[in-house]
Structures are given as C-alpha cells and as structure tokens.
Symmetry: C2
DNA sequence: TAGATTGTTAATCGATTAACAATC
DNA sequence: TAGATTGTTAATCGATTAACAATC
C-alpha cells in the first residue's frame, strides 16, 4: 500500500511480538486457512489490532485490504526477517539441569539453532554426552569458537562463574550471548547480551501474588460478596 | 525526603528492575559495604542513575542524600515489597527436561518458591521422583490445588497440552500462571499469566545475529578497517 | 457494488532523561 | 563547611491507540 520510510527501525517491543504473529500464522497454514486478520494476530499476542498493523508496518510486506494477511506469505517473510531459516551455531556453557534441558529443547532446532558444543568445568561432567554432544572443558572454548566462527553463546552456569565464561566467549569472537545466569555481564559494546533471569522473573510473580493476597484481604474486609465472586468454590 | 502520591502505581518496567537492584544490594551487604549509590545500582541493571532514583521513588523507602541507599535496609524492604520472604506454594505440570530443571533450580527456593507437587500425563513418568516430589497424574491437579489453596502454577508441557493444563489450574483456583509453553493461554481476567516463551526469545536473538551479519557485510564492503576493529582475531 | 480490513496519520499515553534545589 | 548524592519536577522521547481514507 503506502510508502515505507527507510530510516525507521522496528521498536524492540514490536520485534518481540513478531514470533507470536509468526506462530499464529503457522497454525493458520496448518489448518488450511489462507488469510489471517490483524484482529486475529492481536488476539494471539494480547495486543490490539491497531498495534498489529503498526508492528507489521515496519516490515516490507503488505496485507490485503478487506481480507487480511496471507498466512503462508507473511509466515515465510517473518522466517526470513527473524533469521529463523538460517542455521545459527551456538555453544552452551554449564551442563547442569537447565543447560541440559536447553540443549535438548526441541523448539530450538526448529528455529535454526544448532548447539554444536557443550562446556563445563566439573571434571565429573566432562566426557559425558548430552544429546549428540560430549561435554568439553571450558578451557577449550575460545579456540573452538574462533576456529568455527561461532556467533552465539548460551550461559547456564552459576552466577559466580558467568563473567569469566562471558569473557572466554568474547575472546573467541562471540557477539551474541543468551545469559541464563542471575547476574549482570560486562561485555564490549559490539556484543549483544540477552538476559533470561528466571529468578528475577520469579520476583515479579512473587510481587503479583503478594499484591493479590493484599487486595483480597482488603476486599474481604470491605465487601464479602466481591471476594466470593473472585474466588468461586 | 519528599511526599509520595498514594495513587501512583509502579510501572512494570520499574518493577522488573527491582530484583536486579536487590541482588546488587545483597552483594554489597555480603562485601560488608553499607551504602550503595543510584549510579552503582544503575550500573548493575544497565540503566541510568536517574532511572534508578525514579524507580525507587515508587517505594516508601528513602536513600540518604550525599551517601546513597542503605544496602541492608533497602534489600530487606525489597524482599518484603517483592514478597520474596513469603513462602509461595506452586505446582508444576510437565516433567520433561525443562520442567525437571525448573523444579530443581536452586535459585527459586531462595526466593520463597515451594514446588509442592509435579504433574505429568505420561504413564512412564507418573510415580517417578523429581527432587522430593513424586510425579502425579494431571487428573489429580484441580482437587489438590483447591484443597491446599495453591496460588501459582508453572506450565512446561508441549504447546498442544498447555491450554487444558491452564484450564485445570484455573478450575482449582490458581490465579498466577508461569507459562513456559510456546503458546497463548486463554484465562479469566482475575488470572495473571506470565509467559516465558524461550522459542520467541530465540527468534529475537536470531534476528540480532542476522542483522549483525548484514551490517558486517556492508561494513566490510565499505571500509575494511572498521570491520577488522569489530572482529579482532 | 457493499462489506471488510488494511496502512497511515494524529492524538494520547506512559516511560525515560536532564536538571537542580534540598540535604545528609 | 564542602562535596556528594538524593527526590522531584519538567522536558523529552518513544510506544500505543483511535480514527479514517484507501482499497481489495
């Protein structure tokens, strides 16, 4: 339809919604549905239809007025735009429960993630096999990363060890780090860190539970009927 | 110092930074440091010192001009505010690799999370023990949740099964759901869902890697020296 | 055509930043 | 006191929402 201004970059909140839209579109394709409206995409992502159209306006892919978005076409476009069709080679450091779970997570492979090596410093773990990978000592990380031009590192070690792991990754040339350790990493400007701090997330859930309890107490004291409406037995 | 307006609720972005500040304060306490400045807290969270002071202005806890924030005092305040000191009982459904890893994650217990039951529908898993919990069939979930007044549910099942698990949780009276399945859940208004969609997060990392590659190609074509600066060998 | 839904614009909303008087 | 750092205000920035002409 209209003309896209070339200088405008997609906002991060919009970017984060694209995978949700993509999933909804794939579901439509699998159900044999040809077109999906912005309202339907918004429903999947929990945002308004206006928001969806705004998000998609940052892409160079148009919907069809009066019809919606071509499910197959936009899904493919998003796979390209998000790089899901490219193979992304990664190393994972920290072969604890979480690290093993991520290494074996089936959803990642479908998005092009290839974990090509797993590292740990626990002598008891080195040599063990997770999936198709043998666990290697962290000392071998920088050279391997450098030699194979690995772009991505996943950190699932305890917080105290995370910074030195990040340093080793940066030394090897890694520029994207997915950090599951509950800590702040210090890296050069050209390295992109995404934190997946589950303990911090839990803290916000914890706050939510605490608030709910408080408001329930208040409500019970004020009007017993409202309280019963919210907590049907 | 000043007067807090009572009607102002803390914005979600601010709320999500509080656990990071809390962690930084705990580190200070462990190092025997009495006060931490907004600049130091901001450094830990990757935000400006002005942002930190703004975030903390939503709390009813004051720093000391010219000195900073009392590490022990503010840490305790945040533990209360975030509800970290309260025990929060939860059930977890989906005893796959990720579910087991979360059930055994040591960081959660320190924040007051008690996973008091684990469910799965795979007959091969039912009866197995994870940590201190025996895996139970999902059919037993609603009554157990109701009887013990559990507030929180953690979902780590495949996407196709997630909605029915959420329904069972809601039936039992759960009002906070932590959803690790890559799907959108439909729940009543009084239920609070936090999505931890790792596949969607991976998609944004994937986009980042793709963009870096593109800009490196461009930069290499334009000025070879810049490219070398960004990729020291 | 009539109905539906798009892409875009302008208005609104909310979060971040900058600046500084207050104060420890 | 002098120096440092706070809490708050106002200015800025950016994202979301509402409205509607364009159009399939």
């Amino acid at each position: 339809m209209g003309v896209r201004k070339p200088g405008v970059r997609i906002p991060v909140p919009s970017l984060r919604r694209l995978p949700i839209y993509h999933r909804r579109l794939r579901e439509a394709v699998e159900s044999g549905i040809g077109f999906v409206s912005s309202a339907e995409l918004g429903e999947a992502a929990g945002v308004s239809e206006a928001q969806v159209r705004k998000d998609l306006s940052y892409l160079v892919y148009d919907g069809r007025s009066g019809v919606g978005y071509d499910a197959k076409g936009l899904a493919s476009y998003l796979e390209n735009y998000l790089g899901l069709i490219n193979d992304k080679e990664a190393v994972l450091v920290g072969a604890g429960n979480l690290g093993r779970a991520l290494a074996l997570y089936p959803g990642f492979g479908r998005y092009g993630l290839r974990i090509i090596a797993i590292f740990d410093n626990d002598p008891a773990k080195i040599g063990q096999v997770v999936g198709e990978q043998e666990i290697l000592p962290v000392s071998k990380l920088p050279s391997l990363v450098q030699r194979l031009h690995i772009q991505m590192g996943i950190i699932t070690v305890p917080a105290v060890a995370a910074q030195e792991v990040a340093d080793a990754m940066v030394t090897g040339g890694i520029t994207v780090i997915w950090n599951f350790s509950p800590c702040t990493l210090h890296v050069p400007d050209n390295v992109w860190v995404q934190n997946e701090d589950l303990a911090a997330q839990l803290a916000t859930l914890s706050h939510q539970i605490t608030q709910q309890k408080l408001s329930n107490l208040t409500r019970t004291a004020e009007t017993r009927e409202d309280s019963l409406t919210l907590h049907p037995r």
